[in-house]
């Protein structure tokens, strides 16, 4: 820059709106206005999903977004796609049923750390090992936000919340290590504070054929002023090493071992038959005819 007196170029809302409309991603958003707190990472995620769908050219009518209970509950209402707002912790079984009923649908699951790893923890290993062809976007802010600030399975040690007033003493889970050991066929991590990278990762996760798990780090701007803040997370995150081999499970685990320095990118990916493929194989083995799942008119 030549001089300190120069002002930055002004941004006019009208022009910005035109630019956003021009991208075409708005057609993936519904008219309902999000109800999250200003500054919440879910706004990045909503934009990320819309942009990723736009990038991949997925039809709204062929997409189902499944949510459970938590701040992600209402996510489907803000998107222009079929939606199923289900029960606390039960997103993965519902999504599995939807996908098995109609392979042609793109099924995206959204949920938080409490929904996924506390009440819903029993379903994750099975969705992963069976390689259900769905995308699981897990939004980790280390706290229960919708119920106004209680400790979660990913809260760090020493974190004070309304239900851990004398410090959290439960060792937090390491979700990436769990998903890698369950053999999820695509495992990645992104950060709500890096929205463009987040969008790319969501697109990759959706494009992956099989069970894809994207761990999205985000602050809870309302109930966490000390732990996973934009400042702390922004300083902690790093890129995966340029030479990281995403086909190497051991290397992926090594990268996931240290949660205090979270790496962003694709940890692991592999191609293997999906649950739908396995079911069709069973049908053929039984002498049945695999039903062509025609597009519903």
């Amino acid at each position: 820059m030549s001089g300190t007196s120069e002002l930055p170029e002004p941004v006019y809302l009208e022009e910005k709106l035109k630019e956003i409309q021009g991208t075409g991603r708005l057609k993936y958003r519904s008219k309902a206005l999000p109800t999250w707190c200003p500054g919440c990472g879910y706004f990045s995620m909503t934009e990320g999903v819309a942009s990723a769908m736009n990038k991949l050219g997925i039809a709204s009518k062929d997409t189902v977004i499944v949510s459970g209970i938590g701040c992600a509950s209402r996510f489907p209402f803000f998107m222009n796609a079929y939606g199923f707002h289900s029960l606390h912790g039960r997103t993965l079984p519902v999504a599995t049923g939807i996908k098995l009923a109609n392979d042609r649908l793109t099924v995206i699951v959204v949920g938080g750390d409490g929904d996924g790893f506390a009440i819903g923890g029993g379903h994750i290993p099975h969705a992963a090992r069976r390689n259900v062809d769905i995308t699981y976007l897990l939004f980790d802010n280390g706290i229960y936000g919708l119920t106004k600030g209680q400790v979660s399975p990913t809260s760090v040690l020493g974190f004070k919340t309304k239900t851990s007033p004398y410090d959290n003493r439960d060792l937090p889970l390491n979700p990436l290590m769990m998903l890698l050991s369950y053999r999820a066929s695509w495992v990645g991590q992104a950060y709500a504070g890096h929205p463009h990278h987040l969008t790319d990762m969501i697109a990759e996760a959706i494009a992956h054929r099989g069970f894809s798990y994207l761990h999205i780090l985000s602050p809870c701007v309302t109930f966490d002023k000390t732990s996973m803040t934009y400042q702390n997370l922004g300083l902690a995150v790093r890129d995966l090493p340029a030479n990281h081999d995403s086909s190497d499970l051991m290397a992926a685990m090594a990268q996931a071992m240290d949660p205090s320095s979270p790496a962003l990118g694709v940890f692991y990916q592999e191609d293997r038959p999906t649950l739908g493929d396995a079911m069709d194989e069973t049908i053929r083995a039984a002498g049945g005819k695999v039903q062509e799942q025609a597009a519903v008119a």
Binding site: A81, L87, R90, N102
Partner: protein
Amino acid sequence: MRPITNTDIQIAVCGSAGDGTIATGDILNQAMARAGYRVIAFDVYPAEIRGFGECIACTRITSEQVYSLKQQSDVLVSLNDAHAIAHVPEVRDYGAIIYDDAPITTLKEGAHISGHIKPGQLPYGLPMREISERATSAGKSRNMVALGFVAGLYGLPREAFHQTIAAKFKGKAAAITEGNVRAFDAGYEEGAATFQLDTVRLGAPIESGTGAIVISGNRAIVRGCLDAKVGTFFGYPITPATTILEMLAAQLPRQGGRVLQTEDEIAAIGATIGAGYAGVRAATATSGPGLALMTEMMGLGVMAEVPCVIFVSQRGGPSTGMPTKTEQSDLNLAVYGGSGDAPRIVLAPTNVEGCYKCAGKAFELAEKYQTPVIVLLDLYLSNRLEAVTLPVKSPFAPNLAKGISTRDRAGDYARFALTDDYISPRALPGQEGGIHTVTGLEHTEAGRPKDTPEVHTKMTEKRHKKLASAVRHPELTIAKRFGDAGKVDVGILAWGSTFGEALEAMLEARREGIRCAAMKVVMLSPLPVEVIRSFCDDCREILVPELNYQGQFANLVTAATARAVHRLNRVSGRPMHVEDIVIEIRRLGGGTRQIAAA
């Protein structure tokens, strides 16, 4: 000896787990059905896989339609005296007890069954192990020797047994069939050469070539699912529903369907609801403890108006209870279970043929009314075997869904629109112009979350009122009256497996001159109140026999009709005794007879 035309023989085979008791009963059932007799059978098996669990296979062979097993058997075959001794009193006077009279070790006094046979019962001892060893050079075919002996003694059709044995071991090594046939024949010769002392007689069969097969309640459920063209099935093993999952795992893929054994019952119902939402016929099967886990998801099905079918086979409860014993104590859970005002459809078949019909009809109802449907069985009905004739062509409607119209697609589609019949047009994922989100939150007609008094009142009403017409669903028996028409002294209201015993008891009481009638109620929710009320109006006294302590069905009836009823409750883990019901009918019906006599 005077010729016998009417057949009614009940044979109980009792052994220890691993003796081949259940297999013996199975061959007996299939062979007698093959020969043109009516068969109704029930096996009692232990929770232990091997070890010292008691098994009983009980078969009633008749030439006329009967509805339950008899309290006392005509013949008891002991494959294991330690278990069978306790069942000696269950054999009628002049009935037969058949046992191994050459036990492998010297038994202590009182350990052999021959010391427990009552005067009037007729013993037949034969060296089962020795005969088996002579016939097959192994002692393990004792069960087939015993079965052959029974067949030879009573002149049961030998050829039908040969065919059944061959069919049972089809696909296995030929030597297995041959060995079993040799053991059967050796026993048959022994039986045929034995002078018959008892009064058990075989009459002529009803007719042959009826196409009847002997199947269990669970197998009938499976046949119903297959004929209703179920697309996906999700299950988690639990006695006594496991065999539904097992049979469908083998058979559904043959017609292109998908079966998944999930990680738990919550996942099973979750996936069922997911698949139902996506537009295929979906079902799961469980027992009481599993249903308890499923109730939250069932509530979601009610709220989000998603079709799904849940087969529930009850067992003794609460908690783990008695996994291999029967009970009817999950009615409350099926009809009321879960949070909130959550109306659902509950069907309780009363016999094996009813299991087939209710299974198929459940898919029609779920689809039409966009709601969870429970088909409620119990262990006794799940495992009971009956000779039935099923239709060759599926009688079930392939699609009763109310889809979206061109007008829905053009305008602002409202998934939960209020219509005349309270059933809203349902769009499926993938359909153009039908995009919507379903939710467990209270919502507007458009499906948007909203909790105002007006919305909650209106939508709660919608979810209840849409089910009202289910009692008129075509070709579905929701309740049926048997016995005397018009005013009666005693009316029996029964449901589920117990109805068979209730019907037998009613018929017996009529033979004794008591004016009585029995009604089976198949649809437990919504309850066909009008039909029940008009039945009650005809009855001076009403008796409700059921296999639970609280009188759960009696409570349902009383709440709906404000009529006081007499309750007959048993929690023995066994089917109800016909005689127990008859005693109650006599007691209640006695009043008028005394008046008439005076």
